[in-house]
């Protein structure tokens, strides 16, 4: 980033059709940009490869969350009914696995589901109520019927003049500079 780019967050390119967006993404990827993003009203298949996005490791986190739920449930039931206040009912064992399975199952699912949702929003950096792209009047249609690419000024490859020309060559219907 050179000094003249100060105050610029990036360059926004607007597309009318998903095909153009995917094609534009391939070009940006092959040009070697790292700090950029594509936006659309719905997930488009094949975009992960077109953008070169690495597979998320969220499932590992969720697995850990599920295990935590499992352990919590088993320890809680064992400690509360067999240790802290031994609860003898109909001469049945104080801690028997079959009778404790339903709650173990429920808490495993509950913890895993909470990890999924909280983990996903956390890794996506949300809630994030302010973002430079929201300054663009055009960008309001990203949640309806328009597709966008944003090339960020913080990328090593970014230099205002050349990137602006590259952006205009991508086949979008509108190009605009976003303020920080």
């Amino acid at each position: 980033m050179s000094t003249e780019d100060k105050g610029i967050y990036g360059i926004l390119i607007e597309f009318e059709e998903p095909e153009r967006l995917v094609e534009g993404c391939r070009q940006v990827r092959d040009r070697g940009f790292e700090k950029w993003d594509a936006f659309s009203p719905f997930p488009i298949h094949g975009m992960d490869r077109a953008m070169g996005i690495r597979e998320t490791r969220l499932p590992l986190l969720i697995f850990a969350g599920g295990l935590a739920g499992l352990a919590t449930a088993l320890l809680m039931q064992w400690w509360m009914n067999a240790i802290d206040y031994p609860f003898l009912i109909s001469g049945k064992p104080l801690f028997g696995l079959p009778a404790n399975i339903p709650i173990t199952f429920e808490l495993t699912v509950l913890f895993a589901a909470l990890t999924t949702v909280i983990g996903m929003w956390w890794r996506n950096g949300m809630p994030c109520l302010y973002h430079p792209v929201f300054k663009s009047e055009h960008f309001r249609r990203v949640t309806a019927d328009r597709f966008f690419i944003v090339l960020e000024a913080s990328d090593k490859k970014f230099e205002l003049q050349g990137t602006q020309e590259f952006a205009e060559s991508l086949g979008g219907i509108h190009v605009e500079q976003l303020e920080e």
Partner: protein
């Protein structure tokens, strides 16, 4: 003339033809991304709802007030205000609980199981069904909470330290129920909200007033449709569906344990978990249909919630209704085949004893009514299907009434026998719970995106970036990815 194909007039909104050589469009009437967004958002953006909405809302609020008044009366007086008597210690509170929880099964079935099975038609109806699920579970949750009698110590249900230094008994099905319903409510809410965030962002971006921009802006969490976000979002949604799928099956199984683990004849049967789950899906889909048929008409959503969608719902009702009917027959067979006198008596008493009237209402509504869906003309007529949904709703309430009350009222000792009659408080509390349900549904219709727009967009033909050849069947986004030279960069 030989070789002339039969031609019929084609209704542009009828996409129920079952021609396996052609694709079935799920979005009709030439809607594109722009008009679809307008169509769905307009409903939540009207400056004022219609007069009918106000009237319905006023009626629903009044009934809600009646319910809370009855609950207040119950709390200050005691559960003697209900029609409970000595053998029948579980009355309408439990019946209503099981009824509402059962209805709450459709939403998560549609959102989770149909998602994993790649039933793309779910996208137009899943948001509405999920909302209905949450409202039904809210109604369900009220009844076990108030039926404990001393509601001020209801926290004893949860493992929180209390002055007696005692913990709940984790080996009791009643406690399993607390965890099962609690988990189900939480996961359904997470599923619903997570799915709704992109659509809330749409309403935020279209907001014309500051108040709406802030309201939807906060709820949308700053969603901006980034593909790096969509990537994790889709993964999370898939995993959430996989987690919710066993939940759908487990919740009503656990509810059935409340009965099946007890030793009362008529309750103590191993068929209960699958039979309850089938019944829950049956009743849930009937309630989804009961609400969707009028809603799609009033709000002009016929191009999105098409006849094809309703027909699919009806096929599920036919399948699960037949399972329920088969389960009734199996119960009778086992009662005879087990050669257990108490068991045989319980079932003869059910169909020919003092509650025979309720039993035959149940059989008519649950076994006979759904069989009409074998006929395509009935399956695709909104008037007919709506009548059948109402029958199913009634029948499934009576099923729970029969199970709960007929077994209890004739237990082992004839000296204990008694007949259960509800009081006005029982009736008004139940009717009032419909008020609460409809009040929540009306608020949802007024302020939230009723159709999952972002998801419907993925099943529209224009969303297929690589699609020259459309596969046969419903439109969907699972065309094998084009073989290009893309390598994932790491």
């Amino acid at each position: 003339m030989i070789g002339t194909l039969q031609t019929t007039a084609i209704d542009p909104l009828d996409n129920t033809a079952e021609d396996p050589t052609r694709t079935t469009p799920l979005v009709l009437g030439g809607l594109n991304l722009t008009t679809l967004t307008d169509k769905v958002c307009e409903i939540a953006e009207r400056p004022r709802p219609s007069r009918a909405w106000y009237l319905a809302f006023a009626a629903a609020c009044s009934l809600t007030v009646v319910m809370f008044a009855m609950i207040g009366y119950l709390i200050v007086t005691g559960i003697g205000v209900w029609g409970l008597n000595n053998p029948v210690g579980w009355g309408w509170a439990i019946v209503n609980f099981v009824f509402w929880v059962g209805i709450g099964h459709a939403g998560t079935l549609i959102s989770a199981i149909l998602f994993l099975l790649r039933q793309k038609w779910r996208t137009s109806i899943n948001r509405f069904a999920e909302a209905m699920t949450i409202f039904a579970v809210i109604c369900a949750g009220i009844f076990p909470a108030i039926h404990v009698g001393r509601i001020w110590v209801v926290y004893w249900l949860f493992p929180v330290p209390n002055y007696q230094s005692m913990w709940p008994n984790f080996r009791s099905p009643l406690l399993w129920d607390v965890f099962a319903v609690g988990t189900y409510a939480t996961v359904s809410l997470l599923f619903w909200y997570t799915g709704m965030v992109p659509d809330l962002a749409t309403l935020r971006d279209r907001a014309r007033t500051k108040g709406r921009a802030i309201f939807y802006g906060v709820l949308a969490l700053g969603w901006r449709g980034s593909h790096r976000h969509w990537h994790r979002y889709e993964k999370a949604y898939l995993i959430l569906a996989a987690l919710a799928t066993p939940l759908v099956v487990s919740v009503h199984s656990v509810v059935s344990f409340d009965f099946a683990v007890a030793q009362i004849p008529g309750w103590h049967t191993t068929i209960f978990p699958p039979y309850f789950v089938a019944g829950a899906i049956f009743s849930g889909f009937a309630m989804v249909g009961t609400l969707l048929v009028p809603v799609r008409k009033w709000f002009g959503l016929q191009k999105l919630i098409t006849l094809h969608h309703l027909e699919n719902i009806n096929k599920i009702i036919l399948a699960t209704g037949s399972i329920v009917g088969f389960a009734y027959a199996t119960e009778f067979f086992i009662a005879w085949y087990s050669a257990n006198d108490a068991e045989a008596f319980a079932f003869i008493n059910r169909s020919f004893g003092p509650y025979a009237w309720a039993y035959w209402i149940m059989v008519t509504c649950n076994v006979i009514a759904p069989q009409f869906f074998w006929f395509k003309r009935i399956r695709t007529s909104t008037a007919f299907m709506w009548i059948i949904y109402i029958f199913v709703n009634i029948g499934m309430w009576f099923e729970r009434f029969i199970i709960t009350v007929s077994s209890l009222s004739r237990d082992f000792l004839p000296a204990n026998w008694d007949y259960f009659s509800p009081t006005a408080v029982d009736v008004l509390t139940f009717v009032g719970s419909f008020g609460l349900f409809f009040m929540l549904v009306l608020i949802f219709i007024r302020y939230f995106p009723m159709v999952a727009m972002a998801e419907v967009k993925t099943v529209m033909p224009l969303a297929h970036v690589s699609g020259e050849s459309k596969p046969i069947g419903d439109y969907h986004g699972d065309i094998p990815e084009e073989r290009d030279s893309d390598e994932v960069q790491r």
